[in-house]
Subunit: 387 residues, 2 copies
């Protein structure tokens, strides 16, 4: 296990009706907030009205940034910063999924940055100070409700980049599983794939001595496999929505990565797909993951796949190593298909044209990946296998 410094300061209010803490919690930080949300589903479900009612009854003033994109754009960030400055906002409150939360985080950081907001996405070291951020989560997927990161897209530059700062961790997040019951089936599926991919990125590491982290990763993967299916089939199943929601936060709050030297690889590949084709992030991840697994399976990695197969998929440990590994990969592919996620890039409108360009961009800072590092050619091979 490698050395690490653990700090997870975000408070979580988990469960039905926890929104009742909102007024008191906001008032610890501010008397005026910027509400950040997406396409309006929170208006259809009544959550918007509930939030407004609580803010009003607590004499908390607010302004609004609506229409944040599924892959949130730097243009939205800039609008949000302007609103904060015009209205003297003291806290940015995201109501939605990872898109709204990521947008809120970068608004909060850009508020204190004297220059183009895109600068602090390209270079997180330029972030010095951040407005308090809080979230009300409506989609189990990105883990952004409990971490320090954000991903923002610049469609002009075809760039989708991650940024982060310790102070971008939400001060508090309200996680009420009932808010995710109205999430459409395809988004529930994509969200589950996103959670699983976060876990894979930490699990398939070249650090073999972080046993406790690996077993916890398997615990979360088993949770996704079990409850992803149930939530897909029974959207109103509280137990499924609750377990998925908590798994999404734990997958990315640091717990699985502490003690390892992460170098993610499927996410950087997918970010290029989203940057050029604006596809759903979780769908891109689900398409790439089994092909990436197949590509990196070799004598150095097979033991890890055996652990994965036995501990997550319950495959008989007495089988041949490569049989277990290949079966585990096949089960992963089948699982995503069972959630009706497309399994080929061609199904989401991606053809050969930009594969080389995207492979180059995914590796522009050097090789990616941990248990097996990938260069441009490796990435291109994986993209081609995913067509």
């Amino acid at each position: 296990m490698l050395n690490f410094n653990y700090s997870i300061p975000s408070k979580i209010f988990f469960g039905k009706d926890q929104i009742n803490v909102l007024g008191d919690e906001v008032k610890k930080y501010a008397s005026k907030v910027l509400l950040v949300y997406g396409g309006g589903s929170i208006k259809r479900t009544g959550l918007y009205d509930k939030v407004i009612e609580i803010l009003n009854s607590n004499n908390i003033e607010f302004c609004e940034l609506s229409g944040v994109e599924p892959n949130p754009r730097i243009t939205s960030v800039k609008k949000g910063v302007e609103l904060c400055k015009e209205n003297n906002v003291g806290l940015v409150l995201a109501v939605g999924g990872g898109s709204s939360i990521d947008c809120a985080k970068v608004i909060a950081a850009a508020y204190y940055y004297d220059g183009d907001a895109w600068d602090i996405v390209k270079n997180p070291r330029k972030i010095n100070k951040v407005l308090p951020v809080a979230t009300i989560l409506t989609l189990a997927a990105t883990g952004s409700e409990m971490d320090t990161f954000a991903v923002i897209t610049n469609m002009d530059a075809n760039e989708k980049l991650g940024t982060g700062h310790p102070d971008m961790a939400p001060k508090f997040s309200i996680l009420d599983p009932t808010y995710t019951m109205t999430v459409p089936k395809n988004q529930t599926a994509a969200g589950t794939a996103d959670i699983m991919s976060h876990i894979f990125e930490e699990y398939f590491s070249n650090v073999k001595s972080a046993y406790v982290q690996d077993r916890m990763a398997e615990a979360l993967l088993k949770t996704c496999v079990k409850y992803g299916t149930i939530a897909f089939e029974e959207p109103d199943n509280y137990e499924a929505r609750a377990n998925l929601m908590w798994a999404s936060s734990l997958a990315l709050n640091g717990l699985l990565g502490y003690g390892k030297n992460s170098s993610w690889c499927v996410h950087p590949m997918e970010h290029e797909l989203s940057a050029y084709y604006d596809i759903t992030h979780g769908v891109g991840l689900a398409i790439l993951t089994p092909n990436w697994m197949k590509y990196i399976l070799d004598d150095n990695t097979v033991d890890k796949f055996v652990e994965y197969g036995i501990n997550v998929w319950g495959i008989d440990k007495n089988e041949d190593k490569y049989e277990i590994a290949n079966l585990a990969i096949e089960k992963t592919r089948e699982y995503f298909s069972s959630l009706e996620i497309p399994s080929r890039l061609s199904e989401v409108g991606i053809d050969e044209e930009k594969l080389e360009l995207m492979a180059k961009k995914a590796t522009r800072h050097g090789k990616i990946g941990s248990i097996r590092t990938l260069d441009t050619e490796d990435v291109l091979n994986i993209l081609k296998a995913s067509l």
Copy 2:
């Protein structure tokens, strides 16, 4: 999954040589500290000298409370409070295992309490304000380095009671696995039993819908089983010491209990053994645990034991339910024996004399336990079976 409010504010500096952060971290809170430690093992290992060197070179003044007992006593707490008041201390720094840490926490709380320190052990609600606490951990066992609780013994009253307050959570804890390499074999064994018992107390719950917590509990149990043995046989094995150390903190920082309604039972029983016979806490737990498991196994609990047997001990899932359950309990008993922990109360000097008295005291506030509640007679039966 039940509603919960998550807050784990303690920072952890984990790994070799992390003690180098000590000076800077202490200075965030205080310029004068009370050092709290036990029987002097930290002097033999050189850790004491290192701490003093760092405090001196950072111009941090200090006074000392040494000789804290393995079951820390209220008399030591009172001495510590006096030292803090005489010396105008701003932070209480425990260097040791759970005993020193628990003592430090209650000193920090009693500092601000106007009355007999035993009052705040008997009634945690009397705690209003707490001096900052920090820890340098030398034994993987109690989890006190990352939680809000403390257990203190009053030998005059034959009482060993738990108390707690959110502000008793350490501001930071330094977890360097190399400090645990000199822990004697019997203490390594008892510490492992203590960690496992903390996990069992949350795992064997009547809340069946907290799937993610249950799988994480199994992850930590597997870690204990694997690395308890290795640390016992190879005290210098860094990987084993690191995994055990981190498991001890995660077992009790809240992660496993959030979303459940815990009601511990083996710990309350053991506290009576320690209060009357001053035995090693982990030894008492290891003796009681398999007998408690055997006693509560019935048609309502068997499925939980099946999960435990399959997921922790790798027992074939195709066997008969009760066979799996009984084998799992037997493996638990054998595991503690393999660590050379006594398996009967008679081996640690406890006979029938006080069993009835201890059973009554363990249940003086009512029934204990979650997956199956135990009354005085149940506890007496378990104690008798453990003789």
